[in-house]
């Protein structure tokens, strides 16, 4: 709990509108939402150490609260399989980043082809609302999403997961196990809780939320803060 407020207070003090990926996930983790294992590094030496702690294959990402659309900016390197590759990627990413804060995220690589999205948005009339749907590049293209108003009951969460057109991807398909529905619903309920308990959070995006086997894991996340009036 203490950690949560530290993360957000820091961002607000700095007059920021968003939390970085690392901060966002740190916040979500405090609500027991499963996120990728990851370490924030600034130097090559830290990077090397982190790769040992995370293990291969892994992902390197540029990480800054000012960074949206990391993939489009070429700031994501996936499937890194050795220290040599990691150092090369580290150098390349830092060279692409502007400013002094060149934080790099060393992250476990989640294997899974089923990408989902979970989100929270604060509607001026309804208050905090939770979204669930198809994630990754399909979120915007197919708009296969469902909303519920916070607070959510487990039943509401379950209904949302059944409401999207693509709900069958949550089942046991093509040799993949069925999604852990208990955990998935718990994540959606928690998203509503975060909205109810944290007035200063305007929006949350967990996209993608990847099914690693049966388990949903937040692979990327963004928390948007309310602009102080």
């Amino acid at each position: 709990m203490g950690n949560r407020s530290v993360i957000v207070e820091k961002a607000r003090r700095e007059g920021r509108k968003t939390l970085s990926e690392y901060e966002s996930k740190d916040f979500l983790k405090s609500y027991d939402i499963p996120v990728t294992r990851e370490i924030l590094v600034r130097t090559r030496e830290e990077c090397k150490k982190a790769t040992q702690a995370i293990g291969y294959p892994l992902v390197l990402k540029g990480c800054s609260p000012h960074l949206a659309h990391k993939t489009e900016k070429g700031l994501v390197r996936v499937d890194i399989r050795s220290e040599q590759e990691a150092v090369l990627a580290f150098d390349d990413l830092t060279s692409r980043m502007e400013g002094n804060e060149k934080d790099i995220l060393v992250q476990e690589m989640i294997k899974g082809t089923r990408e989902l999205v979970a989100g929270m948005t604060r509607d001026p009339q309804f208050g905090p609302c939770v979204m669930f749907g198809l994630g990754g590049i399909f979120t915007e293209i197919l708009k296969d999403i469902a909303f519920r108003v916070a607070p959510l009951e487990i039943r509401d969460a379950l209904e949302m997961t059944q409401e999207i057109k693509a709900h069958k991807i949550l089942g046991a398909v093509r040799g993949m196990p069925a999604a852990d529905m208990e955990l998935l619903c718990d994540i959606l309920v928690k998203m509503g809780e975060i909205g109810m308990e944290n007035e200063f959070i305007q929006e949350i995006d967990i996209n993608p939320l990847i099914l690693s086997g049966a388990k949903p894991v937040a692979v990327d996340a963004l928390i948007v803060l309310k602009v102080p009036v």
Partner: protein, 484 residues
Amino acid sequence: MSDQYISRRAPSMTNPVVLDNLKTLFNPHTVAVIGASDNPGKLGSHVMKSLTSGGFKGTIVPVNPGARSVTSLPAFSSLEDFPGEIDLAIVVLPAKLVPGIFQECSRKGVKGIVLISAGFREIDDSQGAALQNTLADLANKAGTPVIGPNTFGMVNLHADLNASFTPEFSWLPKGGIAIVSQSGGISHLMGFMAMRQNAGISKIVGLGNRLNVGFAEMVTYLMGDPDTRVVALYLEGLDEPRALMEATRQTRFAKPIVAYKTGSSRTGDQASLSHTGSLAGRHEIYEGALKQSGALYVDSAERLLDTARALALCPLPEGRKVAILSGQAGPAMAASDICEAEGMEIASFHPETQRWIDELLPPLALRTNPVDMGPAWYNASAIEGIIAAVMEDRGVDAILLLMMFASANRAAISGFSEILLKWKQQKPVVACLIAPPGIWDEEVRRLEKGRALINIPTPERAAKALALLWEYKKMKRRNNGMLE
């Protein structure tokens, strides 16, 4: 922690005085029409016609300072000139005169007001909104529920009360469906569709700008209204959507609620902003919120009516397995397509059922489900036998009964009427029995009246209505903690 999102609008439904007054508003003994007129160019004349031709049994009090009588009833120059008590005042005067009238109503102890006048929050001029706020303060202080402003009014068929400017609403058959709408146009559409389909209505209420009676208050009231079995809502946008969610949640599944909301397009949202002066929230959130609070969500006015009718007149299916019995193959195929797309299942008949059907039908047509009863056109007892066999089949949860008229099958319907009337939908029977106007109308009416089936204008709509009955059943089960 969520208090800030819950409505604090007065009068609250926790105030029993207001709820009682709403009861009186819909069931008045004495109704005053303020702005009553004999001039057909004035809305006041249409309201008078609605009340008088609608067969209202109570006292009608026309108020018009310039007339001695209206519609051959003695007129009064003011409310206070009438010696008795007034339960309901219908106001059809220019907006600027209304605050004075509200004060008069309050002094007179009027229990409820239907405010038809326009020119309030819905107009561009900000004075309209200011005027509406003034009225809200006056009404709330007096504890008076107000339907409107900017509405056609309301109709309570079971009280023979037509408090609207549309006298023809009184032609509606009495029944269990309450229509609560934010749009006068959609209310009229629903009302006229209901007439054509002989759908029984309990109330039609045009909420207009919702001075202090909104969807939340209406849902709370209708849940306790003995004449209403199903509530059909048409929404564009709400000022305090959480209040409706609270109301539906509190009475969750006491009676079915079906909701249709427009405004998914950008133009739709703009229209709702200027039209009834409300801020339309995001459509997807509305959809989620309505489902969350236990309402069936539909996407058209005809579906709103079909579903409300089905919920009012059919039992809920226990499962998803449908038998499709059809006088022709094509309509059966159309219905099957919808059933499968909507998560229903075409039942496999029990061998005993199938044996019966095979005996009754020549091997010319489809004899498995869906059953093409075409070859039995001339043989009413064969059709009756098929229906009887399917009724008994435990693997069938609902029946879709489809038949298009042909000169040769004219008598078929009377052949199977008796058995259906006796059975009284032990499982839901959704029908599409269609003939040229006048030919089967009476038989169909008799079957509907006897709760033997409901008749819906197309096989696709019939199948969809059945699928929505099943959807509602599933929602209810989930509510009881039964998760599939």
